[in-house]
């Protein structure tokens, strides 16, 4: 079992200078999207910070979130895993397997009861008693409930854990739900995205480690520093939207000039994430920079919310009623007209000329 003394102590033991520590804190501030001047505050907080025990449970998922995390650049994932947190159970990354792995989980849960951080990726199948995904003979549903009891907080990594994700897509054959649909009595942070930006995963972990508390959250329990603004509002192509310059196809002049992808179905306006500033692959770019619209992968139900290639202002589905309604309109118009003219004819027929006698 890893020791759980403070991070500052560990760094001093490793012979790391104060200057190196300040550099590390500057990187942490950048990672947490905090103002660059907060490095000193981070240094002060880290001097007190203990390495939290982390248990990572993977349920109905594709391991894309773990793949994303292990490609995290800043700080290196090794320093994150080995210096900053004590990752006591992660069935993809850990060396132990079988009974030894499950024992590590049990031990960590007992030793750090009430204090460990529970990370979950993947949704939880609930149909037929949750039998559609099991680990070591235990359903995901039971394992989550069991592990959540002693957790200080839960971090749902990825859209599956946060909102149900692809497994929950219509018709949802396994009855998949999000972590927050099952666990109601623990603080939950949703780090959505398919996968989430690695720097956002590590940024939230760093925030918890540094300040011993979860960051400020939005209405969907996502950290505001990363999900506070839409892709559209932070997009470098936004000026083209405002100027009314749009790519009409993926290979026209507008596309080559890097104009706005709104008309090609970009979901940037409805999507909250940090891709446009944090970017991917060590800052190389993000989908829109590569010429493809945003799919909206960090939003609930993005998988069932209409085509990726239909502009937000266009009908999501074909207008099937239109022709029928027009036909009904014609029929109603003709019908009412006939009734009106019948009424007119009847009135004409019933018309009696007024004679002098009538007036007397």
């Amino acid at each position: 079992m890893a020791d759980h003394d403070t991070l500052a102590q560990r760094l001093i033991q490793q012979g790391i200078s104060r200057r190196a520590f300040l550099k590390f804190c500057t990187a942490m501030a950048s990672l947490m999207a905090l103002p660059p001047g907060s490095a000193q505050a981070i240094a002060a907080a880290l001097a007190q910070a203990k390495r939290p025990s982390v248990i990572w449970l993977s349920f109905q998922e594709c391991t894309g979130c773990t793949e994303s995390l292990t490609r995290s650049h800043s700080p290196t994932v090794e320093s994150l895993i080995f210096d900053m947190i004590s990752l006591d159970y992660h069935h993809t990354l850990q060396a132990a397997s079988g009974f030894a792995a499950e024992k590590a989980r049990d031990d960590a849960m007992k030793e750090f009861y009430g204090k460990y951080l529970l990370l979950v990726d993947g949704s939880i199948p609930t149909k037929d008693g949750g039998i559609y995904s099991t680990i070591a003979g235990m359903t995901n549903l039971d394992m989550l409930k069991d592990a959540a009891k002693g957790a200080a907080a839960i971090i749902s990594v990825g859209t599956c854990a946060a909102f149900g994700g692809i497994p929950k897509a219509n018709p949802n054959p396994t009855g998949a739900v999000a972590v927050s649909d099952i666990i109601k009595d623990k603080p939950i942070v949703n780090i959505s995205g398919c996968p989430p930006i690695p720097a956002v995963i590590t940024g939230v972990l760093a925030h918890y480690l540094t300040f011993g508390a979860l960051p400020e959250l939005d209405n969907l329990n996502r950290p505001k520093v990363f999900y506070g603004e839409t892709i559209h509002d932070r997009c470098y192509r936004r000026p083209f939207y405002d100027q009314g310059k749009f790519a009409k196809t993926f290979d026209d002049e507008g596309a080559r000039n890097g104009w706005c992808l709104f008309e090609l179905g970009c979901k940037g306006p409805t999507t909250h994430n940090a891709c446009a500033t944090t970017k991917w692959n060590g800052g190389a770019g993000f989908p829109i920079e590569a010429g493809h619209g945003c799919l909206g992968c960090s939003e609930p139900d993005f998988w069932d919310a209409g085509s990726f290639y239909t502009a937000l202002s266009m009908p999501a589905t074909p207008l099937t009623f239109a022709t029928g309604a027009a036909a009904v309109g014609v029929a109603a118009g003709v019908g009412v007209s006939l009734a009106n003219s019948a009424k007119k004819r009847a009135a004409k027929a019933a018309h009696q000329p007024v004679t002098l006698n009538d007036l007397e």
Binding site: Q243, G244, T270, A316, V330, S337
Partner: protein
């Protein structure tokens, strides 16, 4: 229901129903109005009507003598908000995209800053008009439920559209869905209320001008 599903519904089934009812009502009423006909005019035309109908279509857009003194708010306000509405509805790029996807026609849009300005002016003009309607005893007396209802149905899409673009009050996706929903309500009510003038205005002006021409008062 998440906001994305709400948005998908208003963009899908909701829009489907609204456009269906709009088409149904519009076609029905146009056929009914056209077939209603007028009493046969047995008198010989005093005058050939010529372009009188076309002139009237234009002349009715000019102020009649004295109106600027009697009701400047209604007149100027009415002008401003109708033009503002036309700009916002037909020259905002996402709206053009919608029209293009529905009927295939498209034209260049305006930069969003100009649309923003037009929206604010339209909203202000509509509020002034409403205040004037309530404030002036005669106007208040003449106003019915339909007047206030159709005012609200016209005002809401502009307001919610502006709030969606500016990220006011609610998340963009929710506000966008409410905006689309408010437009759908407008579409549904339009054929069956006084808002139908949006479709009949120029036709009825032409008819009046033409018949006046035949009766010897071409304009």
């Amino acid at each position: 229901m998440s906001e994305m599903i709400f948005l998908a519904w208003v963009r899908g089934m909701g829009l489907n129903i609204a456009i269906g009812i709009f088409l149904l009502g519009t076609i029905w009423r146009l056929i009914e109005i056209y077939t209603l006909g007028r009493k046969q005019d047995v008198a010989a035309p005093r005058h050939r009507s010529g372009a009188s109908g076309w002139h009237t279509m234009f002349r009715r857009s000019l102020p009649i003598p004295g109106i600027m003194q009697r009701s400047p708010v209604s007149y100027i306000g009415g002008y401003i908000f109708h033009i503002g509405l036309a700009i916002v509805v037909f020259l905002f790029a996402p709206h053009i995209k919608l029209i293009q996807s529905l009927v295939g026609l498209s034209w260049p849009g305006l930069p969003s800053q100009l649309i923003d300005a037009a929206t604010v002016v339209t909203l202000a003009a509509m509020l002034v008009m409403l205040f004037d309607r309530i404030n002036k005893p005669v106007k208040r007396f003449l106003s019915t439920f339909e007047d206030y209802f159709t005012w609200a149905l016209t005002f809401l899409p502009v307001l919610t559209g502006y709030m969606a673009v500016k990220h006011l009050a609610l998340p963009y996706a929710t506000m966008l869905a409410i905006h689309i929903l408010s437009v759908e309500l407008l579409l549904i009510v339009l054929p069956f209320s006084k808002l139908f003038h949006a479709i009949t205005v120029f036709g009825s002006r032409w008819y009046n001008g033409d018949i006046n021409g035949r009766r010897g008062v071409p304009v």
